[in-house]
């Protein structure tokens, strides 16, 4: 299936240029560049340990790059704090799900907007009308995001008691609450069965078209990535070895070599260990 990417919309939202980071003597990522256009789903793939999550961390301010830059349209994001970058419009999910264990599903989503409250806490304590109205509005938005991803029935559940696949959806819903321009998903389909993956793919497309944002996606499931993305960047040992459409990338000899014996990239090829652990 070719995704519904609108090729005419090449408005680039998120742009990483020549990102490099070193940990001690090790160069984890070198000269990494990538663009995420609006309304498109871009894939980032590569063998285990290639540095994909490190790239995410660089783009979201968790790590400061030694070289290179990150921009969201005209806004410079390089070396700014993670929470500033998030407020600018870059949201992400994590490889190991990071939900707020002490909060319910609804509260997890509401918490994502806590910094957007313009009403001061004291006014909130005293139930000042304007603040109460604002709180109601946020609650409404939270519920609608949950409905969008299909979690309305679980609002009062403790977040960590949800089944795994739904926890992933919750993480996505929570990220959406911050009204991002770009959404970075780190292995959202990990540990899901084929039905769940189809559902997820549909959700990601829906998010892309409804919210008009750009999506950057790390995944190991080749079929998932090839079906969903309009463009793919391949990373190996911290460097980009190929960029192109799914079919271009599949045929690229460097890519095939990097995966070392993965027979065909069009098979459902998951590089997870049976227990779902990621090898370092």
């Amino acid at each position: 299936m070719i995704p519904l990417s609108d090729r005419k919309t090449t408005n680039v939202l998120l742009k990483a240029e020549k990102l490099t980071i070193r940990f001690g003597g090790l160069v984890a990522v070198q000269n990494f560049s990538l663009s995420v256009p609006a309304k498109q789903i871009v894939g980032l793939i590569g063998p285990n340990g290639a540095g994909k999550t490190t790239v995410f961390n660089l783009m979201t301010g968790v790590y400061k790059p030694n070289e290179g830059s990150v921009h969201l349209e005209d806004i410079e994001l390089t070396a700014r704090g993670a929470h500033i970058i998030a407020r600018s419009g870059v949201a992400r999910t994590f490889q190991n799900i990071r939900l707020f264990a002490g909060l319910t599903v609804l509260e997890n989503v509401v918490a994502a907007q806590s910094w957007q409250r313009r009403g001061k806490s004291i006014a909130s304590l005293l139930s000042w009308p304007s603040v109460v109205a604002e709180e109601k509005e946020f609650l409404k938005q939270a519920k609608s995001v949950l409905a969008f991803v299909g979690l309305s029935d679980y609002e009062e559940w403790e977040a960590t008691s949800l089944p795994y696949g739904l926890q992933r959806k919750l993480e996505i819903a929570r990220a959406l609450m911050t009204r991002p321009r770009v959404l970075l998903l780190d292995e959202p389909a990990a540990g899901m069965n084929p039905t769940e993956k189809d559902e997820l793919a549909g959700l990601v497309r829906k998010i892309c078209s409804n919210y008009g944002l750009g999506v950057l996606l790390i995944e190991h499931d080749m079929k998932f990535v090839m079906d969903l993305c309009s463009q793919i960047t391949v990373l190996d040992h911290g460097e980009v070895i190929a960029v192109g459409t799914p079919s271009e990338v599949q045929k690229n000899p460097k890519v095939i070599e990097a995966y070392l014996g993965a027979d065909s990239l069009s098979d459902t090829n998951s590089l997870d260990t049976p227990t779902g652990d990621k090898l370092v």
């Binding site: 929470h83 707020f100 264990a101 918490a111 806590s114 806490s121 029935d153 403790e158 990220a175």
Partner: protein, 303 residues
Amino acid sequence: MEQLIEYSILPLMLFGITAIQALGLQLILGGAGLLSLGHAAFYAIGGYSAAAFSVYAGPALGITQPFLLMSLSLIAGGFSALIAGLLVAVPCLRLQGDYLAMATLGFAEISGTALKNIESVGGTRGFTGIAKLSSLAWVFVTLGLVWWALSRFRRTGLGMAIQATRDDEIASRSLGINTYSAKLSAFVVGSAIAGIAGALYVHALQFISPDEADFSRSVIIVLAVVIGGMTSLFGSVLGALILVAVPEALRFAPDAIREQRMIYFALIVIFVMLFSPKGLQSLLMRLLPRRKAKTATARGGSK
């Protein structure tokens, strides 16, 4: 009978005061997940400042009316504890959890030493000659207000940011939450609340000594809150109750048990951490036939 009531007033007030102090700690420990081992220091600072106000500043400004004097002393106490909290937290909150605990401990020791060296508030002998401005009403009205404010606070933007930061700092930052300022707010407000408790204390006992700032007192209140249940306001107050009630009850117990009470206290803490991290209040909750957590019932019905 009258004697019994008279006799109970002070312990009751002490319970209320300790409960306020515990609630302040709950915000820091249970709300933000920060281990502050200097909470008693802020309590003491609040107490000393409040006393200094009512003994020196108030009369100098011509304020003698008890209600006004007490209110202003409370504010003085809370405010000075707030500033102290800010001074400690701003640099130390950038540190990892273990380091923060040690740093707050260090601060507690230093402030204790400092208080011992200020002669105008009594030095090592302690501050005496303080008016009895507190009363049962003062204590419990304040307790009620603090409790109410904190429970409303949980649902505010900042309150949720604090809880999110506690649960997962990295995820919180990825959602735009300024985790540093969330932790700072919790620490500072919690310490200010301790200061208010100290202010009430000093005007109840009419005396305060630098030992109140001791790190051992901080440890004890932390452990009490943990035993009671650091995740909830009720749990923290329960912890305060245990802290105040047990020594009172043990007055009638044989010497041996009294001396060993700290041993049992420590054992209970370890037990709680290993088997019931939400504290005794969660054990109590299980006994009550309240509506079960929605997880249990809801989960039964699907997938």
